[in-house]
């Protein structure tokens, strides 16, 4: 502590001897730099140990025939075989890609539309608006759980609530979760049902839109539809962009519901085989870890590319009213 004692003297007038100033951690930027790395060290360790190194290791393993049962010693380098197999020799893989893309392409727009619609309805101040907002948000907290996936399974099974509802209209439903044509649909509904998080973010965005803009629009003779397209949407575009990126990434990771509803199989007939579920099956039930790591890398690159596409195209439609805040 003696080295820092000069720093504890009130004010800076007290000259410290040159020698101690140079040697110890001293005052000012140098010492703050050291402190910075001290505080950063857990995160840095995690970045290296938990994120970077495992990922690089897995990149290496993706070129091998590694399986969890073997030790690292009898690894065999098989080059690009895993990657080649994915795209040319594994129909299940390509099927999983297709299922995931369909799932994301339908879930994300529906979810964001529901989120924006409800957010706009809630974007007034009246007594009790907070209760509505909270209750619409609730599914986002609960929906990712196993419990809700089980409920979904029961609700869309032959004797579930959905068919009970249909029977009121004289329609005899089927078991939606066991039909390859509709099983993915039930997952999509479960995904859309959790529109609360993007809704809350839209709501915050809507509050930022200056009301003068609406007034100006209505003075210029714009009706509700026009002011939605020409005021609300452009002003909301940064928030919409954020939600679009986050929800797309989330949609690509819909593991829990698919796993539970298909009982870990991706069935019926692979209709709910989302990418991450197939990854899990390859890695942890068929022990083809080398292949699974290759799949994880393709997944990562794909998500990176999609995000990059969003950011490049975003420049043309995302409108920042306050300069370059982001």
């Amino acid at each position: 502590m003696t080295a820092t004692s000069t720093a504890t003297v009130r004010g800076q007038q007290v000259p410290a001897p040159a020698a101690t100033r140079r040697r110890g951690p001293g005052r000012g930027p140098r010492r703050e730099g050291v402190a910075g790395y001290v505080f950063l060290s857990p995160w840095l360790l995690g970045l290296m140990g938990i994120t970077a190194i495992p990922m690089l290791l897995s990149l290496y393993l993706s070129f091998t025939n590694y399986d969890t049962l073997s030790t690292f010693s009898d690894l065999e380098w098989i080059g690009l075989d895993n990657y080649r197999r994915m795209f040319t020799d594994d129909a299940h893989y390509l099927h999983a890609v297709r299922v995931t893309v369909v799932y994301a392409l339908i879930t994300v727009p529906l979810k964001l539309t529901a989120a924006l619609a409800v957010a706009m309805l809630l974007n007034r101040t009246w007594r009790g608006v907070g209760v509505f907002r909270g209750l619409f948000y609730l599914p986002s907290l609960l929906g990712g759980s196993v419990a809700l996936a089980l409920v979904w399974f029961a609700m869309f099974s032959r004797e579930g609530a959905f068919n009970a509802l249909l029977s009121v209209f004289g329609v005899t439903g089927r078991s939606w979760v066991n039909d390859p044509d509709t099983a993915l649909g039930t997952l999509i509904i479960l995904g859309v049902w959790q529109f609360g998080t993007p809704m809350v973010i839209f709501l915050a965005g809507l509050k930022q839109v200056p009301s003068e803009l609406y007034e100006a629009a209505s003075v210029d003779g714009a009706g509700a539809t026009r002011s939605f397209w020409h005021v609300t949407l452009p002003m909301l575009s940064p928030v919409l962009f954020f939600n679009l990126v986050m929800e797309t990434i989330r949609a690509f990771q819909g593991f829990t519901s698919a796993f539970v509803i298909s009982n870990g199989t991706g069935g019926p007939v692979d209709s709910t085989m989302l990418y991450t579920l197939y990854l899990y099956i390859k890695g942890f039930t068929e022990y083809e870890m080398g292949y699974a790591t290759a799949m994880a890398w393709v997944f990562l690159v794909a998500i990176g590319l999609i995000t990059a596409v969003f950011f490049t195209t975003g420049r043309f439609w995302v409108h920042y009213s306050d300069g370059d805040d982001r």
């Binding site: 995160w43 409800v118 196993v146 954020f242 690509f252 796993f259 994880a296």
Partner: protein, 277 residues
């Protein structure tokens, strides 16, 4: 856009809310129905309320469901502590200290925010297996949280700290506080709202987490609530539907209570991290 529009808004919202809440109400109602009624009674509410499903669900598996609750609580509790501390420390460095490469590391941190967690599961599993941690599941589940790997919370706290007036730490510095003392006496206490938000979200996410727990928890004795719930599915058949609903309701109860108690904090947490002012 005027007062009369409320008269349209509220009925529309009520109808939408009914649709959105229906699955939850149906689950709750069914959990009190007898097995015969679950199939035959189309109404949401049971004709006869029976707690039998709860009794059966709690004890019908080889291990009491209480065990799963204890395990989940331990894991969620430790995660909360680990996340709150490590992310607070990291956020302080990013929000307040100037050190070489700060911008670079911050960009990396934002990058990991977009990194899909599911991609990391297999690489991490391989590492933990290599380290021999697979037989002590607490290590793979908790150690990453001690190392601030949840960038979402780091970001949330950085955003919060940026809102704390710099004059406060400048004053402390002039009074001779080191960066460590500024953290301990100024930034950490003032960041408590963000810490609470982090704690609640970590609890809920860990409580609901399925993928990582599925990978690392292989002994029935160590199962958590989500993994245990799935056993009702394995046994199949209509007979276990009632207990399954009952345990599902119980499993959601802690999350629901957190929601009721901290609703505003949760919504604000989504906002501060979701976008900047």
């Amino acid at each position: 856009m005027n007062r009369s529009s409320l008269a349209i808004r509220i009925p529309v919202l009520l109808v939408m809310l009914a649709v959105v809440l229906y699955p939850l109400v149906w689950m709750l109602g069914s959990s009190f129905k007898s097995n015969a009624e679950i199939v035959n009674n189309l109404s949401v509410l049971p004709r006869e309320w029976t707690p039998g499903n709860y009794r059966e669900g709690w004890s019908s598996l080889d291990v009491s469901f209480g065990r799963f609750f204890v395990n989940s609580t331990v894991i969620a509790g430790l995660t909360v502590l680990a996340n709150a501390t490590s992310c607070l420390v990291t956020a302080y460095a990013f929000a307040r200290l100037r050190f070489p490469l700060r911008k670079f590391w911050f960009a990396i941190m934002i990058g990991t925010l977009l990194l899909p967690g599911d991609v990391l599961i297999i690489p991490q599993y391989i590492l933990f297996k290599y380290l021999g941690w697979i037989d002590t599941p607490l290590l793979p589940l908790i150690v990453p949280k001690l190392l601030a790997t949840e960038a979402f919370f780091v970001f949330l706290m950085v955003q919060f700290m940026r809102g704390i007036p710099r004059e406060l730490d400048e004053a402390a510095k002039i009074d001779g506080c080191s960066p460590y003392a500024v953290f301990r006496h100024v930034l950490a206490p003032l960041s408590m709202p963000a810490v609470v938000t982090t704690a609640i979200f970590s609890f809920i996410w860990t409580w609901n987490d399925f993928f990582t727990q599925l990978v690392y928890l292989n002994d029935l004795d160590r199962y958590t609530v989500p993994i245990g719930l799935r056993l009702f599915m394995d046994s199949g058949g209509q007979t276990s539907l009632g207990p399954m609903f009952a345990m599902s309701v119980l499993s959601l109860l802690p999350v629901f209570l957190f929601f009721v108690a901290f609703q505003r904090l949760l919504v604000e947490g989504i906002n501060t991290s979701g976008l900047k002012g």
